[in-house]
């Protein structure tokens, strides 16, 4: 067994919170290690709406959350302008809505006061005719509509960028490494963890002065390993992902129970959601259910009557790590966060948990947590995450010139620049002549080489969240095999490993697709099965060990 460290801080969990904290601490010069049992940001973060919105919703019950979100949204725009895109929202008002246009406008006027914090534009009020002209798919039953301004982000890439920056500033980040146990001293103090690499099986002891549990919905399980308790009221949320965009703007929709949801554009897809339901199960075993799908579609149909004609590609499911609260409806629970000192709470010194929070204010939450951790460690460097650009966020690139220089199709370069910003040329240098491996969204082999060699990608399944491989219409029927070969070249995989990785990728896509498979997508998945299940005479290694039941 090998040992590593000692580190000052061991972070468990590589979602947005863990990665945000790792970067913050690394910028303060703290020696950090981060372990994540899967791919960075592949849990709750990737299943989120991918929005760094201000939280109009929270204005009624928790204006502090709205304020923090807006301030932090402004900061994220400064440090990662390439990862951010503006999403104009349309909010239709129906005759039967309990809150009429005048009252809605009062709320939006209040929200307008927060908009400058995040470079948002003030709301506008549209007549029925104006709204229908702007978005003809809106229901003609509306009275009027409002616009408001929010921001979207590639959430998985935001995690990767934070982790990458942490690594470049001296941190260690280990993906696909799971905590087996925490190292304990006689007085109960946690001194790090023994972790196992889920790919190689290798076990490593990581010693650290302080251990921070950032595992989101897994936090209670991980805390229990250390004999500590994290109380949470986890809530499941799902999204439906549509082939192509339903609309270029986001559109509010109301669930049968009065909850607000929306459909919004993301890359070449639209997404619709999200649900919010108490979840008592294992966050590793998430299935999207028929009633969740119907609930979302019913809500969308009220705003966009033609929604059922759009092809649903796949689903995203995640669990919100909401703080414990008794009695309220899921939707009304606070999105606030807390840094729990288990030394004081459970007699487990050296062990902390960061719980709650939301994507939009991850940076502020990390800053607050790291201020407290720095105080414990005796580090007095201030937080620099609000002003130091994330990797690729330092300057804009000329997409057309870059495409020409590397002889690539410009749409592929646009997507690269969205994810990698100023580092796009560095990504393209990974191959003599970059060629697309995926036709749904043009993913270039150069990007796969880059994320395997220079970022932490270790498995083909990592690439769905990291570079959006195989999340389009063919769900990896056309690209998984080719991409597997690219990663095999980059990472030195054997033929058997490559085959197993491709099989696992296909199986993961199936899990995301099966709950909503119907309509035109049936033909696509028929072909998917012909490619992935019909191509060989002998049994390919079935991804049994690592896949979920």
């Amino acid at each position: 067994m090998t040992r590593a460290g000692p580190f000052q801080v061991l972070i468990v969990g590589g979602g947005i919170n863990g990665a945000g904290v790792a970067r913050d601490l690394a910028l303060r010069g703290v020696r950090v290690a981060l372990v994540e049992k899967g791919e960075l940001g592949a849990g709750t973060t990737w299943a989120s709406s991918g929005m760094i919105h201000g939280g109009l919703r929270y204005l009624q019950m928790d204006p502090k959350v709205t304020y923090h979100s807006c301030v932090d949204s402004g900061a994220i725009q400064r440090i990662a302008p390439h990862l951010i895109f503006r999403i104009p929202f349309l909010m239709p008002v129906f005759p039967e809505d309990p809150i009429g246009p005048e009252l809605v406008e009062v709320g939006l006027e209040m929200y307008d006061r927060y908009q400058p914090l995040k470079n948002g534009k003030p709301h506008t009020r549209l007549t029925r005719e104006q709204a229908l002209r702007l978005e003809p798919s809106l229901s003609p039953r509306i009275d009027c509509a409002f616009t408001l301004d929010e921001w979207g982000v590639d959430a998985a890439r935001l995690v990767a960028a934070n982790a990458l920056d942490a690594v470049e500033r001296g941190a260690q980040v280990h993906t696909h490494c799971e905590v087996l146990s925490f190292l304990r001293e006689a007085d109960g103090r946690v001194r790090g963890a023994e972790v196992q690499d889920r790919i190689t099986g290798e076990r490593v002891v990581l010693e650290a002065d302080l251990t921070l549990n950032c595992t989101g919905p897994w936090a209670p399980q991980v805390a229990a390993l250390a004999g500590a308790e994290v109380r949470m009221r986890p809530a499941k949320g799902i999204h439906l992902v549509f082939e192509r965009r339903v609309s270029d703007v986001a559109i509010y929709a109301r669930g049968i129970d009065g909850r607000d949801m929306f459909t919004f554009p993301h890359e070449q897809n639209s997404m619709a959601g999200t649900t919010d339901d108490d979840f008592y199960g294992d966050p590793d075993l998430l299935d999207v259910t028929e009633d969740e799908i119907r609930y979302v579609m019913q809500a969308m149909e009220r705003s966009i009557p033609s929604i059922r004609r759009h092809r649903v590609l796949h689903t995203l499911a995640g669990v919100r790590p909401t703080l414990y609260g008794f009695g309220r409806y899921e939707d009304e629970l606070s999105r606030d966060y807390a840094l729990l000192d288990h030394g004081a709470r459970d007699g487990v010194p050296g062990f902390y948990s960061l719980a709650g929070g939301k994507l939009a204010s991850y940076r502020l939450m990390a800053e607050d947590a790291c201020d407290q951790i720095s105080a414990v460690l005796g580090v007095d460097d201030p937080c620099r995450t609000a002003s130091t650009p994330l990797p690729g966020g330092d300057e804009a690139i000329d997409v057309m010139a870059t495409a020409k220089r590397f002889r690539c199709d410009w749409p592929a370069v646009v997507r690269l620049a969205f994810r990698h910003g100023a580092r796009t040329p560095r990504v393209l240098e990974a191959c003599a002549q970059p060629v697309p491996v995926c036709a749904c969204e043009p993913v270039l082999d150069a990007e796969l080489h880059h994320v395997a060699r220079r970022e932490s990608v270790r498995k083909l399944t990592d690439c769905a969240a990291r570079v959006r491989l195989g999340v389009g219409a063919c769900q990896g029927a056309a690209c998984a095999g080719v991409a597997g070969e690219v990663l095999a070249d980059a990472l030195g995989w054997s033929a058997e490993r490559t085959t197993a990785e491709v099989a696992e990728f296909a199986a993961e896509r199936w899990r995301a697709v099966a709950p909503v498979l119907g309509g035109a997508q049936l033909a696509a998945m028929e072909i998917h099965r012909a490619v992935h299940r019909g191509a060989r005479a002998w049994s390919a290694p079935v991804p049994g060990a690592t896949s979920r039941p």
Binding site: D287, E290, G481, T498, V502, G534, A535, R536
Partner: protein
């Protein structure tokens, strides 16, 4: 006799060709390229599959590799509900093999004037590799890939074309070696060598389809042969990526064979780039035209008739930019060969799984009725689990007449062919194009009889 064939894949096309040969006046309606056009060069009859519901590669008792003929016999005796069995009610393997050979000869007779040949017999085991290096047992095969048999080669060369999108010869060679080892057959030595494309072809290297089309040109073919000549080594099987011409590859493969001194073939493609399927599809269309079959591009919208007899098919043509019009094709007999989901033979309408044309009941491979509810009800969450939805299709009687919910022939003069007939999962039980061919021919014979009212 007026026959209307619905569906232009291999099943529909062979049915139409056989009917036309018999003197019927035949119209064939097709939406466009379907599953046949995405096929990859094998013509499986009883293909080996690792799935427990499929046919084994080795004898489960003796352990020696089975020939396709032996697998067909195994199928006939162990899978009573597979629709292939209905085609051979006597369950006599020897006569089944003879019938397959006749069918293959008939298909070859129609296709060879269009530049596509059918090769092989059910007595030999043929192992073909695809672009990923995955190895598959191919019972019969089309000539663009047939010569790439790995089971009988002593040395194989995979030709690397630097920069060609979707083709990594070194990775394919690694995979191929591992697959042959897993199959337990004596593996040939595998080499990889680079081919420097002639300058004129290099511009299209990122787009395999365009490169293949460029290689339909004689001068480009000659350039390629010259560039490949240094790779010559007597007796070595040479595998190229599937770009050796789009439709005029026969000449190029022959020239390359002479220049390189051994068998030359393409590796099998993988959808969406599997030119074998595109070539087959085009050759079928040409054969249909040559046989005087009237081709209608469009979609059948319904059948009309009195009592249980169909008298016509309503078709919405999709030709040109003119507003698509509904026209009625008169029919004495109708062949339903619309395939499954990619062909349009099965579909979801308003969250209901249906056979959209006649609204026939659908059954999975365990005989459970599956239509009328959302398709997703018949799926399991694990990819490796059996997926009842993908074994679903209509049921027929012994004369290939589709059955209604009461188990009677749904229409007096309607027969079915190809994968619209359910009860097996084509990805796992590889009776693929073989079932399409055999059922297509049989359906034509039945349609001829029913159309005459006998």
């Amino acid at each position: 006799m007026k026959a209307v064939v619905l569906g232009g894949g291999l099943a529909g096309a062979t049915a139409a060709l056989r009917l036309a040969e018999g003197g019927a006046s035949v119209s064939l309606v097709r939406r466009g390229p379907g599953a046949t056009a995405l096929s990859w060069g094998s013509l499986d009859v009883a293909g080996a599959s690792p799935d427990p519901t499929g046919l084994p590669w080795r004898d489960p008792v003796g352990g020696e590799p089975l020939t396709p003929a032996q697998r067909l016999s195994f199928l006939l005796h162990s899978r009573p509900f597979h629709p292939m069995v209905a085609l051979f009610p006597e369950r006599d393997a020897a006569s089944a093999v003879r019938r397959v050979a006749e069918a293959a000869r008939a298909l070859d007779g129609w296709l060879s004037p269009q530049g596509v040949r059918v090769e092989g017999t059910l007595d030999e085991t043929r192992l073909l590799a695809n672009v990923r290096g995955a190895v598959r047992a191919a019972d019969l095969a089309f000539d663009d890939v047939a010569a790439g048999d790995l089971g009988h080669a002593s040395a194989v060369l995979l030709v690397d074309v630097p920069g060609l999108a979707g083709w990594n010869a070194a990775a394919a060679a690694r995979a191929l070696g591992a697959e042959l080892q897993a199959l337990g057959v004596p593996a040939p030595t595998v080499h990889v060598a680079s081919l420097a494309l002639p300058e004129v072809l290099r511009a299209d290297v990122a787009r395999p389809a365009r490169l293949a089309a460029r290689l339909d040109d004689d001068a480009a073919q000659d350039d390629l042969v010259r560039a490949a000549a240094p790779l010559a080594e007597e007796g070595r099987t040479v595998l190229f990526p599937p770009v050796l011409g789009l439709y005029r590859g026969t000449r190029l493969r022959a020239l390359l064979g002479e220049a390189l001194g051994g068998p030359v073939a393409e590796v099998q493609g993988a959808p969406p780039w599997s030119p074998s399927g595109a070539r087959l599809d085009r050759a079928l269309l040409a054969a249909l035209r040559a046989a005087g079959v009237r081709l209608v591009t469009g979609e059948a919208r319904g059948v009309v008739g009195e009592g249980s007899r169909i008298s016509g098919v309503d078709v919405r043509a999709a030709e040109g930019d003119a507003s698509p019009e509904l026209s009625r094709l008169p029919a004495d007999a109708v062949v339903l060969a619309t395939g499954r989901f990619s062909g349009g033979g099965l579909a979801e309408r308003g969250d209901r799984l249906v056979e959209p044309l006649v609204d026939l009941p659908l059954y999975d491979d365990r005989g459970r009725r599956v239509d009328g509810v959302p398709a997703r009800r018949h799926l399991r969450r694990r990819y490796s689990d059996p997926q009842p939805l993908f074994s679903a299709g209509i049921r027929t009687d012994g004369r290939l007449r589709p059955l209604d919910a009461g188990g009677r022939a749904a229409r007096a003069n309607l027969v079915a062919a190809g994968e619209v007939i359910g009860g097996f999962d084509p990805a796992l039980q590889r009776t693929g194009l073989g079932f399409a061919l055999l059922s297509g021919l049989r359906a034509a014979d039945e349609a001829a009889r029913l159309g005459r009212g006998t």
